[in-house]
Amino acid sequence: MKRLVCFMLAAVLSCSVFLTGCSSGKTEDSQGAQADTETKSETELPNIVRTSISSEPDSLDPWQSAATDTEAIFHNVFEGLFVYNEKGELEPGLAESYDVSEDGLTYTFHLRDNVIFHNGKAMTSADVLYTYENLAGMNGEKAASSKFGTVESINAVDDYTFEIKLSEPSASFLASNIVAVLPEGYTEQSQHPIGTGPYKFKEYIPGQKVVLELNEDYYEESRKGSIQTVEVYIMTDASSVVTALRSGQLDFASVSVDNANALAEDFDIYNSAQNMVQIFALNNSIEPLNDVRVRQAINYAINKDAVIEGVFDGYATKLYSNFSPVMAVYYNDQLEDTYPTDVEKAKELLKEAGYENGFDLTITVPANYASHVDTALIFADQLAQVGINVQVETIEWATWLEDVYSNAQYESTVIGLTGKLDPDSVLGRFETTYSKNFFKFSNARYDELIQAARVELDETKRADMYKECQQILTEEAAAVFVCDPNLTVACRKDLKGYTFYPVGFIDFSKLSYEAQ
């Protein structure tokens, strides 16, 4: 029976390939003949890949969009002067190379001369100039990005050379140049986006799908895609994604661990750490959590393995500070033995702090994240062993954002902090003056390090500073850093090349079909 279903699926799929072959044949005769001969051979592989995202794109204009899901798709369409690879390192994108002046203030970018926008226009320094004028707000309008505040002046030296002067040295400046370069004077980005990436935007049907097409004229052979069409369906319900995978409507999709286990027989399951920090945040400003001994006691009392096993089925990486080992360059690997699970030690510390009989603690969790709610319940159980009486309170996501994230009106919470490429945005969350420092963590040495690292241009020294920051977070027990839950992707067996990135990015150009 199963075999019959498979056979029928294959038949349907090959039919659809045949149909797409025909339709492209109508527009161009010479290619049409080619497509026809190709569909005749029996080993024909599909030339379309279909996947899903869980939310509607917030804007098609890359300068307006902020949602991770949107970015994950549209990073295939847009590129900046730099792109990042799967390790999160910068690689030359639209700029072939760059020079920095001695004082670290002037950056000269040498642009590629063979880049063509999706509308057929060649990219020159005029487009880059237009882009940075908008991003830094130098055309008299509001800056399109907050990351270019240190830019003092910009200048197009010749057609393929571009210069940026900064007002002060900035270590994170280079990494912020991954933001999309857009063609000069084109104002329809939010209806029909035009970029330079390996895939072109074809259409967007709200509530249904985004369709992308292969960019045949892409300038860099090694990053060029091979699959002609990409369809991204918008599916908000996890179980409908699984049904769509099963029925062959989707070729790959990200799924929960539980669903991945159920799909494992018919799909290849890939998973990888995703640079997220699942954190048990403690409000450092309220009693008794303002006592470092109490926070340390909580760290000793908690067994992270129970969460990794119980909530994520083992598919998670244990963390020791607010940093995932995915970002290997900055990761401090010396902290792993700081807080082994030790109930006796925890009780001792609580006794020292004057809470021998424990205290009451509320964990406020957003109700829509089942994994965080389950984690909170496990912690409640573990903390009861050292006498801390935990009440789990689930609230709506919007209320959580308002009360906890924006106003820090809470005692403790469990949440996932999404990964960023720039270590400053990851560790800067704990800086005293940061407006969304809802941990209310404050440490003079820490602030000093974060500020120094921002202007430190020597990468090794900068990495050392960030490592010390992680050490402070761990020693001060700013929070309980739980784990980095894996991203799990179910992929049909003949589709190869799915690549994980330390930020949300589904790289379609690396995907290809292989005959089984």
Binding site: S239, A367, E396, T399
Partner: protein
């Protein structure tokens, strides 16, 4: 006489079926007060999602908690909320409806208008609003669901009081000098008990259903306290790997709601004939 009446009730198929369904769950709950197979909130991640076995008769959930124990404790919440809602909503509804029906005139039109306005609000929306403003707690849940069930009782009792207020026995009582309150409670109200019992059972099942719905949306009962609706939403995440888990809360909610609805249907048929 008493035996005859019981016979009359149990000769009705709907009533008997509903009664059996509700009794099974009621018994389960009562047993839960004296004996639980395991601690319903004891987390053991090594035993997660075990299928039903001799050790865990209904299996374990995603955190390794014994489902049977959670069901036994969870049924308390369902019955408790159903009972409180019927009691509060019934009291308030009957008072309002009674006053409106008995006095008529201006009082009637004011109360009727209030009830009509309240009926215009979708119940669940009202509950969501109350919970958003006053916070998530059992008291607020009961308050919201009680307010929701007021119109049903009010309309029922208003029509009853309207029907009886000019009848011979009320006139007789008036002539004897009985106060309004005495007439309403002792003379008219007992005549409405049959209709009201039908309304009460319907309200009971409605309250259980709404509680399950709100808890499903994580707006009712707070974890770790078990509740059928909460269990249903937890089980949904594992529907592909542990399908039997989702069946248990779903079947229990169905049994409870269907049971009460059948009782109410049965009562209706019995009183009509």
């Amino acid at each position: 006489m008493k035996k005859n009446r019981l016979k009359k009730y149990f000769s009705n198929r709907n009533f008997t079926l509903g009664f059996i369904m509700v009794s099974i769950l009621f018994l389960l709950m009562v047993v839960g007060f004296f004996y639980l197979p395991a601690d319903p909130n004891k987390i053991d991640v090594l035993k997660e999602l075990l299928p039903p076995s001799r050790e865990n008769l209904l299996g374990t959930d995603q955190l390794g908690r014994d489902i049977l124990s959670r069901v036994m404790v969870g049924s308390r919440i369902s019955f408790f909320i159903g009972f409180c809602v019927v009691l509060c909503g019934g009291l308030l509804g009957c008072t309002l409806g009674g006053a409106a029906g008995y006095y008529g005139g201006k009082i009637d039109s004011i109360i009727t208008k209030i009830i009509d306005t309240q009926m215009a609000f979708p119940g669940v929306l009202l509950a969501l609003m109350l919970i958003a403003v006053f916070g998530n707690s059992v008291q607020n849940l009961i308050l919201a669901l009680s307010v929701m069930s007021v119109p049903r009782f009010a309309r029922m009792s208003r029509s009853g009081f309207l029907k009886y207020r000019n009848s011979e026995f009320v006139k007789a009582a008036k002539v004897k000098g009985a106060s309004d309150l005495r007439i309403m409670i002792l003379h008219i109200f007992p005549n409405l008990l049959q209709e009201l019992s039908v309304t009460a059972t319907l309200s009971f099942s409605g309250a259980i259903m709404s509680e399950a719905g709100l808890s499903y949306l994580s707006l009712g009962i707070q974890p770790p306290t078990p509740s059928f609706g909460k269990m249903l939403s937890e089980a949904q995440n594992t529907i592909l790997t542990a399908g039997w888990y989702v069946v248990i809360p779903a079947a229990l909610i169905t049994m409870l709601v269907l049971g009460f609805n059948l009782i109410s249907d049965g009562l209706n048929e019995i009183y009509r004939h």
